[in-house]
């Protein structure tokens, strides 16, 4: 298997060098560039597996660049930004970026996210699966691009990244049992999940967040095997 090629767009020279080095040390081929025109040239130079994009670039903003990129290709994009606000996060992900990496970041976090995004599979798969990216079950509304869950009464139900991914996995396998091992595997590929909490703890937390008044969450435990979302899922 050839090493994945990563296109890095970062205007700060020192940070560009450091990030490039960190990626190279972990076995990636890196094409560093400082500006939008450089990026387009680098795109033409050969296939790219992932783009790491700084939002605040001189000239074109990373957001405009992301839009332009999305029109051309389905290459996975990870935003890098000093603006750590959730608003930016949502904008980034709604624009079709795949993840968001706030500054400052360490090598470990950088590699974990790159690896996770690369592992999530091809963009075509994602598109086909997502549709508009909304899954509904039991009155709940799971908005995949916004990474947001709404309760039956329309309130935002706060979920951590790991909890959200777990719920997505359950929704994807609705009314089918999903093995604990598979869930553990899924949660490991997920970055930002640095703590070692077990899948069972995650499931119990998601359950509590989904439980209504006098009504249990539609997640059932299949003893010795795993878990199952016991609800019909409608996708839009």
């Amino acid at each position: 298997m050839t090493s994945p090629t990563i296109l890095l767009v970062e205007d700060d020279p020192a940070l560009r060098t450091l990030t490039t080095r960190a990626l190279q040390e972990n076995g990636y081929v890196v094409r560093p560039c400082a500006t939008a025109p450089e990026m387009w040239r680098a795109m033409e130079a050969g296939p790219v597996d992932l783009v790491l994009l700084d939002i605040m670039l001189p000239g074109t903003s990373g957001i405009d660049l992301c839009r332009a990129l999305r029109r051309e290709s389905e290459v996975p994009i990870i935003f890098i930004s000093a603006k750590a606000s959730e608003t930016d996060r949502v904008i980034g992900l709604e624009l079709g970026a795949d993840d968001y990496l706030p500054k400052p970041f360490g090598t470990r976090e950088l590699i974990a996210r790159v690896r996770a995004v690369l592992r999530r599979g091809g963009a075509e798969d994602r598109r086909a699966q997502r549709g508009q990216g909304i899954a509904e079950f039991d009155g709940f509304r799971l908005n995949l691009p916004r990474r947001e869950l709404l309760s039956p009464s329309g309130a935002v139900v706060d979920l951590t990244g790991a909890e959200f991914d777990l719920l997505v996995a359950l929704v994807d396998h609705a009314q089918r049992v999903i093995a604990r091992e598979r869930l553990i595997e899924l949660s490991r590929t997920r970055m930002g999940d640095s703590s070692d909490r077990s899948v069972d703890v995650l499931v119990s937390r998601v359950r509590r967040k989904l439980s209504g008044t006098g009504q249990d969450a539609p997640i059932i435990t299949v003893r010795g095997i795993g878990y199952m979302l016991n609800a019909e899922v409608a996708r839009r």
């Binding site: 450091l18 750590a84 606000s85 608003t87 090598t107 329309g154 706060d158 951590t160 008044t213």
Partner: protein, 437 residues
């Protein structure tokens, strides 16, 4: 300041006081003048009557023989004038008497009196004056007379005083209403000035008298300038905060190259602390992004996420509130606020019990700890930005001292408030009270 407020009459009061004073002066002046002139009329009247009386008295007394004269004089004495004849050859008037204008008026009325060497004196009697006089008969003897009633002074009529006060009262009331209306823009100005620095300043319409319009214009300009100044500073701070994150990212990546694990760990701790400072600064100055929009949110779940996260990092955090409490809030700001409270509770109180409770009208977000609490006299102080209770910045205190200031601001943005109390059983209770829409 409070003292001044009690003593001060206020602009309306002052204007009314000025009006009252002018009216009082005007009233007094007019009353005195009126009294004076009416008294002058009375004098004329009296002088004429006396003159007539004297002409008759002179004639009648002169016609009598000397022995008959005193009784004739006595008969001429009325309840108004005392007429007296004793055959004296000098006027024999009280020496302290002063000549008076009454003589001229009497002669003017009865010119024949001028031939009789008429002498009139005003003699002070107590605080008033009495008229004394004498005139010489043809045979050289003097006929003396005096007015029985004191002629000058006299009581002021209560009726005459009160009557003009009635229109004055109406005038005062009317001006009070008019003044109030004129001063209304000032009141608006005060309200607007009070709002500066809080949420949503207002540009006032330029209405009212010219002077007030000028003040309003200046005020609006000042408000714009202040707003601009704050915005500039905020943007500068936010820019610095954002820019710091790039070198921080460099530092962090560089620290990965450090071979010594202990040194690398120390580096990472420092970088994490600096990042926390930048984060809290950005959150405090609000330069992180556009103002957050309120969204319907399950606040209980929000709090549970924070508690779970704290527990995962080894903190003694538990959630004891309602399972689900939905409210329209700004979730990012509120999440940061609750996280700050939990962080404080764990740091100073070594435990955090978090509860989100829906009451009828308020939403309570309560964080209790089992720490030493905060001295009662310093409870208000700790909410101020950049205030730390540790006398010297202790080693394990991270951040800039903005934690509670951010919480208070988040509560304020939701139209609520932050309350810190020392629980009777020990420990601090931090409670955000938000209105339930």
């Amino acid at each position: 300041m409070r003292k001044g407020r009690i003593l001060s009459l206020g602009l309306l009061g002052r204007l009314l006081a000025i009006l009252l004073l002018t009216m009082a002066v005007e009233y007094l002046a007019s009353t005195i003048l009126y009294e004076r002139s009416s008294r002058a009329l009375i004098h004329d009247d009296e002088a004429h009557r006396l003159a007539e009386h004297l002409v008759i008295a002179r004639k009648l007394v002169s016609e009598q023989s000397w022995p008959e004269r005193p009784s004739m004089a006595a008969r001429l004495t009325t309840d108004r004038y005392d007429v007296h004849w004793a055959g004296a050859t000098n006027p024999n008037l009280p020496p302290e008497g002063a000549p008076t204008a009454a003589r001229a008026r009497m002669i003017e009325w009865e010119p024949s009196l001028a031939d009789s060497n008429l002498q009139v004196r005003l003699v002070p009697v107590g605080r008033r004056a009495q008229l004394f006089g004498a005139l010489q008969l043809a045979d050289g003897t003097w006929l003396r007379f005096r007015a029985i009633a004191p002629s000058v002074g006299g009581s002021l009529n209560i009726h005459r005083i009160l009557l003009p006060l009635f229109p004055a009262g109406i005038l005062l009331l009317l001006s009070a209403l008019l003044f109030r209306e004129t001063l209304r823009p000032m009141r608006m100005l005060a309200l607007a000035a009070d709002r500066i620095g809080r949420r949503g300043g207002v540009t006032l319409p330029e209405t009212g008298p010219r002077e007030v319009r000028r003040v309003i214009r200046a005020f609006n300009a000042m408000q714009t300038r202040i707003h601009q100044l704050i915005t500039d500073r905020t943007q500068a701070l936010a820019a610095v905060g954002h820019d710091l994150r790039t070198p921080l990212a460099r530092l962090q990546l560089r620290s990965d190259a450090i071979a010594d694990p202990a040194l690398r760990q120390a580096f990472e701790t420092d970088i994490t602390e600096m990042e926390a400072m930048v984060g809290s600064l950005l959150s405090y100055v609000g330069g992180e992004d556009d103002p957050e929009k309120p969204v319907r949110t399950d606040v209980a779940v929000l709090a549970q996420t924070i508690v779970d996260d704290a527990a995962d990092h080894g903190g003694a955090a538990t959630y004891v509130g309602d399972d689900h409490v939905e409210a329209v809030v700004r979730p990012i700001g509120l999440k940061r606020a609750i996280a700050n409270l939990v962080e404080n509770a764990l740091h100073y109180g070594h435990s955090a019990r978090v509860a989100v409770i829906a009451e009828e009208r308020v939403l309570l977000i309560r964080v209790d700890d089992d720490g030493p609490g905060i001295p009662d006299d310093r409870l208000a102080e700790v909410v101020q930005p950049f205030v730390r209770l540790d006398p010297a910045r202790s080693r394990n205190t991270s951040g800039l001292g903005l934690g509670l200031a951010i919480v208070a601001r988040a509560a304020e943005v939701e139209g609520g408030s932050l309350h810190l109390t020392n629980r009777p059983e020990g420990g601090l209770r931090a409670e955000m009270r938000l209105p339930r829409g």
